[in-house]
């Protein structure tokens, strides 16, 4: 018998509300810093991890609001592992 998964348990505790085109789902926001140009500059990354089927049509430059902050998708989103989760880089709008 197939194992039934409820993927929303992964975004319920630490997730933040993200809205794209009026549709809102919980996502995990990561904000790691990165060292650029051989450590001469600190870059601030924004990475949204989401259930793939929640936002199927994300492409570069699509507007997304996470916890009230406006961003745009920065580059192509990518699926993780078995494809049930995806990541998208964001930049502040």
């Amino acid at each position: 018998m197939a194992f039934e998964e409820d993927l929303t348990v992964f975004t319920s505790d630490f997730g933040e509300p993200a809205t794209v085109a009026g549709v809102t789902h919980n996502v995990i926001m990561n904000k790691p810093d990165a060292m650029l140009y051989g450590e001469s500059q600190v870059g601030h990354d924004f990475v949204m991890c989401y259930i793939t089927t929640d936002f199927l049509d994300l492409v570069n430059n699509v507007a997304v609001t996470v916890s009230g902050v406006s961003y745009k998708i920065n580059g192509a989103p990518r699926r993780l592992a078995d494809g049930k989760f995806s990541e998208a880089d964001l930049k502040k709008a």
């Binding site: 990165a34 060292m35 650029l36 140009y37 450590e39 001469s40 500059q41 600190v42 870059g43 601030h44 990354d45 924004f46 920065n74 580059g75 880089d89 964001l90 930049k91 502040k92």
Partner: protein, 137 residues
């Protein structure tokens, strides 16, 4: 104070005046945060001296600056006006012409990175030529 230090101080002062909306640094080794951008970091590179005879050396003093710009949609386009302003200010400065024999642009290298949008670091190099007494640096 060596001639090299006088030159770097002068070029740095001119850069600050020419680019009031940029933060200008001298030989900064600590990393920049994007809140500090745009930033210009002026550094010496090399100083080569050739014997010119009669107690003089001909110095070829290479300097460079790193211009950090970002986040921007087209970061090299955002960097361009700063590079132009610095170049014009340095090349047209009477104080520079009094201090050195020749200042030549020697090229630039762009590096790009993606963090919260586009960012670039442009390294711009100049060469200064000076005839100096051998007992002076």
């Amino acid at each position: 104070m060596t001639k090299a230090e006088l030159i770097l101080q002068l070029l740095s002062d001119i850069c600050e005046t020419a680019c009031p909306d940029a933060n200008v640094f001298r030989s900064r080794s600590a990393s920049f945060d994007d809140k500090e951008l745009p930033a210009v970091n002026i550094m010496p590179s090399t100083d080569d001296a050739l014997n010119y005879g009669h107690g003089f050396n001909r110095h070829s003093f290479a300097i460079q600056y790193d211009l950090h710009v970002g986040p921007q949609d087209i970061p090299d386009a955002a960097a361009d006006p700063f590079i132009e302003k610095i170049h014009q200010a340095w090349m047209n400065s009477d104080a520079v012409k009094l201090l050195i024999d020749d200042l030549q642009y020697r090229g630039r290298v762009w590096e790009f990175a993606d963090a919260d949008g586009g960012s670039t670091k442009v390294r711009v190099t100049y060469e200064i030529t000076n005839l100096q007494p051998a007992n002076q640096l």
